[in-house]
Symmetry: C2
Subunit: 418 residues, 2 copies
């Protein structure tokens, strides 16, 4: 089948499924989700067998051990995927909620109803568990999903999608609720990005190159999940012990994720109190420091930071550190060099805290807490599709609610407009 024919067929099927999903009761969706979870564990042996194929291709291409580890499916990981689906089943159903209801002077009652978005195209490059995570979130929120995973995991992804889709359909999901593009040709994605008639939203999650390709080619709305070059700014009034504790946590607790801190700005009035405590602590935690000239004047053994460092998401035990003259300058620096993901201020001063909150142009802005809390689960949203760095529709952790839209609903009793 030609790429266009293939994807149009999938998309049409998804659109039909989306209409049926909108009308499903929560208990039907939850029963299907639990069946999907069980099916993954029941098919563990077969999943591991097809996963071997991906692993062997990866080995033949001399991929790194870290790459191969991300691909690997074992008993523990398959159980974790199943448990994750069970957690989604346990969340409140977002669909059908009526809110912001008000009565107008003419007696009309006007409000909004939360409804599914429709058909979502989910494009990702990463671990096979994203396939079942994304599918379960879309089912719960009443959306049909077309999944497009990376070619490195195509055998695993195909099997996962088949197993959960079949189990869901047996329990009442419409055929077409969960579909994975079974081929790896790029043309299929390029055609998909133009199918406005059938697809309502594209969510790309992966490297910058992938996301930029999607943005440049899609006529369908896109919610981007870019990288996290997170900043912490230590204000002049900060509690030094708190600053040290938060910075160490944000840098070292899990350096390879998007909400780890990558750059540090320190107010000039606190530099000589904080740095002598902080620098040795970071160094003994194995953190490589890249410093501005003012910091190096005090600690000449540190590596100099280049312009590039302020723009870089290291995802490693590296931290760039700069002394800055004011909160004002810190806000401007973060808005210029940060990635608008998550940034924090450490301060005891109310005005500095509120100025930072209001004017740092990022999806998540923190006062006196580690950036590592930037996460749907930690925010109490239950789970997340990812962290949107876009400004429209969903900004920050994107949970079930962000996978819905609303419609205005109006209850009248015969009103006409004069």
């Amino acid at each position: 089948m030609k790429p266009r024919e293939l994807i149009v067929e999938l998309a049409k099927k998804a659109k039909v499924a989306a209409a049926a999903l909108t009308a499903l009761q929560p208990h039907v969706k939850n029963k299907a989700l639990l069946a999907m979870a069980d099916a993954l564990q029941d098919n563990q042996a077969e999943l591991q067998k097809v996963n071997e194929q991906d692993l062997e291709i990866g080995k033949a291409q001399a991929k790194s051990p870290a790459f191969l580890d991300r691909l690997l499916l074992n008993e523990k990981r398959i159980r974790a995927m199943a448990d994750s689906i069970r957690q989604v089943a346990a969340l409140d159903d977002p669909v059908g909620e009526i809110y912001e209801m008000r009565t107008r002077p003419n007696g009309l009652r006007v409000g909004r109803m939360r409804v599914p978005i429709g058909v979502i195209g989910f494009i990702y490059e990463s671990r096979p568990n994203v396939t079942s995570d994304a599918a379960s979130l879309c089912v719960k929120s009443g959306n049909a999903v077309i999944l497009r995973g990376g070619s490195e995991a195509i055998h695993s992804n195909r099997k996962i999608a088949e197993v959960i889709s079949d189990a869901g359909i047996r329990e009442g999901l419409p055929a077409g609720a969960i579909q994975l593009i079974p081929v790896t040709e790029r043309e299929v994605v390029n055609e998909m990005l133009k199918l406005n008639e059938y697809i309502d939203l594209i969510i790309p999650r992966g490297g910058r190159a992938l996301i930029e390709t999607v943005v440049n080619n899609s006529t369908i709305p896109v919610i981007k999940h870019y990288d996290g070059n997170c900043y912490i700014y230590v204000d002049a009034s900060a509690d030094v012990e708190m600053a040290k504790r938060i910075i160490l946590n944000a840098k070292t607790q899990r350096p390879g994720v998007c909400n780890a801190v990558e750059s540090l700005l320190i107010h000039q009035d606190i530099a000589d109190t904080l740095l002598p405590v902080l620098i040795p602590a970071l160094e003994s935690a194995g953190v490589e420091i890249r410093a501005c000239e003012q910091v190096r004047a005090r600690f000449p053994h540190l590596k100099p930071a280049t312009q590039e460092d302020w723009l870089t998401e290291y995802l490693a035990l590296i931290l760039s550190v700069k002394i800055i003259e004011s909160t004002e300058a810190a806000i401007e620096f973060i808005n210029t060099y940060g990635s608008h993901h998550t940034d924090a201020i450490i301060t005891q001063d109310h005005d500095s805290a509120m100025a930072f909150l209001s004017r740092v142009d990022s999806a998540c802005v923190f006062v006196n807490a580690s950036t590592r809390f930037s996460d749907g689960g930690e925010f109490g949203m239950g789970c997340e599709v990812g962290i949107s760095t876009d400004k429209l529709h969903a900004r920050g952790p994107m949970g079930l609610k962000e996978l819905t839209t609303s419609k205005f609903i109006v209850f009248g009793s015969g009103q006409i407009r004069e």
Copy 2:
């Protein structure tokens, strides 16, 4: 200046202005808005003079009287433009609102803060008053705006933008808060649609061709304002008098607007009660009826409706009428042929009402009220940029709140993640 240089210069200036607008207190923005309103009236004579140029070009091009009337600026219309800005000044400021605050088990307080989107590109073809309406809504919501009006009104639009921008700047708005593209070349728009670095949102308002061009060329998020092919469905249980009253109002009160009804579906069990009352009433109100075969079997003098009629926004005293076998079939028909703008059911039956509300896939869904109420003002939102037919970010009447985004804010007291 080349198109790209021109628009990049405007966009850079707008981005700087947007950062300053975010920090402006409500009273500063309101004072600027009131000054903008006064300035329009103070410059009435000059506005009318430049408006003459647009009118003369229109006349030389043999444009229709309706077209020329839409272009015309007279004293009454300029006063209406000024009053509209004063109304925007009187609305609550949406920026800075903190909501959905919750306390997490670890003591973190997590919530959201409403903030401006940033820089908005507003592309429209229509009356010159849209220039001042759009500018005032953007200022109030803290956004910088780049306006691109139609070439038919370029002289009027340039002067309006100059007058309000100058007045706003005198009262404390940053230069670049309100800018109009001063030339009519299409290349400028094409370049604008690629400036993701500076522009956060594109809002096109106008004909289908304009909107499609924008969607196909923009890499910036777009909120579309498509047409309104609105349906009314009369259920078997409807009150006949109410149905007649609502249909007549929705069709004839102002036929040239997007929330007027264009097509009517009638349940087969009520057709013989409703039609003998409704058809003569519509005809004596001057409405041309285009009917399905079942309706024509009862009223053979009516014109037959073609497939095209069910898809058409007439914006005129024309109504297509069809008999249908069930609520189910009506929902499906509307989802297939309607434009997902505003659709209404007339019914006394609770289940029919709720099925229609939940499953008609439109921005606004009404029970027992005229579609003519689909309007930001009527919904109690104060004013509107337009009616979004998109599903993401803003759906339905788009008011000040929809011109903002949110960020997550987190108040801690030194929390770190274990």
